[in-house]
């Protein structure tokens, strides 16, 4: 019997080597890794080069302050990791950037460095997978194209699903998948969106350690050149992937220096492990302060 979770992915070291040199991605033969490489005539507003994001202000819910006032910049084409205690407002911040501020009121500014509107330029992978139970895996991944009235690219969907290790499950409905498989479908759906700004809310939280590091490598590879804002609770993840590490607490946002080497870093890299440890110590401190209040 073949193993169910065997992933058609290169080992971590291979992925790292590939990331280090300039060979184009093997997966999206017809799809450059970065939006920058697209032919100029394909650039609509959606294909603008990834801008940086400038956020300043505070968020209110029902008259009570949720977070802020805070000020942060999400670097253009960079990977920013956002950490912080549960309930501090990380998801809320992501939803604000995605233009989904239905219940929270945001006083302040939220701008892209190119001064173009953010609408239509973001992709959001929410904390829950939000798969449609009546659609099979492939159709879930193609949902964005269908909702926009575009011809669904089945070949590309098949390749992305192959890369997240779900080639054998494309015809299943979500209820026939494990939690980690569902999360990888949601990841594939987000990668299919092809937007310059990508917002990820704990995208790898349901995965086992091995699959997680593989998905991290894959996501870094496929989202390179985009402005990525990722919420995570995992210091190891932040230490591996981040160009910028931000820590959000009730009192504001502070940054933390990432390891000097380029991401994705090896899981056993000394600097990465050190950053991971320091981050964890810092997060424990903020949590303890919470408890003493």
């Amino acid at each position: 019997m073949p193993t169910r979770h065997a992933l058609p992915l290169q080992s971590y070291d291979n992925a790292r080597k590939r990331h280090g040199n300039t060979t184009p991605a093997t997966l999206f033969d017809d799809l450059p890794v970065s939006a920058f490489h697209r032919p100029a005539q394909d650039w609509g507003i959606y294909m603008t080069p990834a801008p940086s994001l400038l956020i300043s202000g505070s968020a209110w819910f029902d008259g009570t302050l949720l977070f802020g006032p805070l000020q942060l910049t999400i670097g253009a084409g960079k990977w920013t990791c956002l950490l912080g205690p549960s309930g501090v407002g990380k998801t809320t911040l992501l939803r604000l950037v995605a233009g989904l501020d239905a219940v929270t009121r945001f006083d302040g500014h939220l701008n892209a460095s190119d001064d173009l509107p953010l609408a239509g330029r973001t992709a959001l992978m929410a904390q829950s997978d939000l798969l449609m139970p009546w659609l099979n895996v492939t159709d879930n991944v193609l949902l964005g194209a269908r909702l926009r009235g575009k011809t669904p690219d089945h070949a590309r969907a098949a390749r992305v699903l192959g890369r997240v290790g779900l080639s054998d499950h494309t015809r299943k409905t979500p209820d026939a998948l494990s939690g980690g498989q569902r999360q990888r479908v949601a990841l594939a759906r987000t990668l299919m969106e092809d937007r310059p700004i990508v917002l990820l809310d704990e995208p790898f939280s349901a995965l086992d350690a091995r699959t997680r590091s593989q998905m991290q490598d894959l996501t870094v590879e496929l989202l390179s050149g985009r402005t990525v804002l990722m919420v995570t609770h995992d210091p190891a993840e932040a230490a591996r992937l981040a160009d910028t590490i931000l820590i959000m607490t009730e009192t504001g946002i502070s940054s933390f220096p990432p390891p000097p080497s380029p991401a994705p870093r090896a899981v056993d890299d000394g600097e990465t492990l050190k950053t991971q440890g320091q981050l964890l110590a810092l997060l424990r401190q903020t949590t303890q302060q919470d408890e003493s209040v």
Partner: protein, 251 residues
């Protein structure tokens, strides 16, 4: 299997109870005929009953399909357009204060003694339950799905078609299940008010001529048809509309 056995046992018990009431109460056959007599009549008059049953079944099925179609479209229309909601919804709710039965004579006057007045009666009686069950479900699409669609840059019409409708199909299904039970009532009332064919007409005729056994035989046929219809609709709903339905894929 266990379900079938329980169903059979329950039916047998009902028949025995029925016979016991007739025997112990010493009821004359023109008040309450026993099960044996009714079974005999059912067999003897099978051609007559079948002739009328076909008419009623046709009325119910056509009414059900039209009602489902119209109810479905109305619900989608109401869910799509706030203007339609403000204008039409209060009217629909008010219309529920009018007993549909009270309209039967007028419908017969307008549409005649043929099939159409009964079909319309069945349609009328199921239209509201189907519309309101489906509409409520359409208005309760989980917000995170709608958020996802918005971030994906979806057009409202496509959100309706690809997310809200498929997500609301279980609600539509519960409306249809109710409709399967109500539709025969509508058709029978229509036949009572004015018809020359159909089980309702036959029951009224048999009653008037003190042929209570024929009345009961027709009633049993009607009840069995309603049960089968409900089971059929239930099966259809479970297969196509409930839970992980695949309808959205075909679209």
């Amino acid at each position: 299997m266990k379900k079938a056995a329980s169903l059979f046992a329950s039916a047998l018990f009902a028949v025995l109870l029925w016979q016991a009431v007739v025997t112990l109460g010493a009821l004359p056959r023109f008040i309450l005929p026993g099960p044996v007599l009714v079974a005999e009549t059912l067999w003897k008059s099978r051609a007559l009953i079948a002739e009328h049953a076909v008419i009623t079944i046709a009325e119910v099925l056509i009414g059900l399909m039209l009602g489902a179609l119209l109810g479905g479209l109305s619900a989608i229309g109401l869910a799509t357009s706030p203007v339609a909601r403000t204008l039409i919804r209060p009217m629909m709710v008010f219309s529920q204060a009018i007993p549909v039965f009270a309209l039967a004579p007028v419908l017969t006057l307008w549409l005649g003694y043929g099939l159409s007045s009964k079909i319309f009666m069945a349609l009328l009686i199921i239209y509201f339950p189907v519309t309101s069950a489906f509409f409520d479900a359409l208005m309760r699409t989980p917000a995170p799905w709608l958020d996802l669609a918005r971030v994906m840059g979806a057009h409202p019409r496509r959100i309706m078609w690809h997310i809200r409708v498929p997500a609301a199909l279980p609600g539509f299904a519960s409306g249809l299940r109710l409709a399967a039970v109500y539709a025969p009532i509508g058709a029978i009332i229509g036949e009572w008010v004015g018809a020359s064919k159909g089980l309702g007409y036959l029951m009224l005729l048999a009653n008037g001529r003190a042929k209570i056994d024929l009345m009961f035989a027709s009633l049993i046929v009607l009840a069995i048809f309603t049960l089968l219809l409900h089971a059929g609709v239930d099966r259809f709903c479970r297969h196509y509309l409930d839970g992980k339905s695949r309808t959205a894929k075909a679209i």
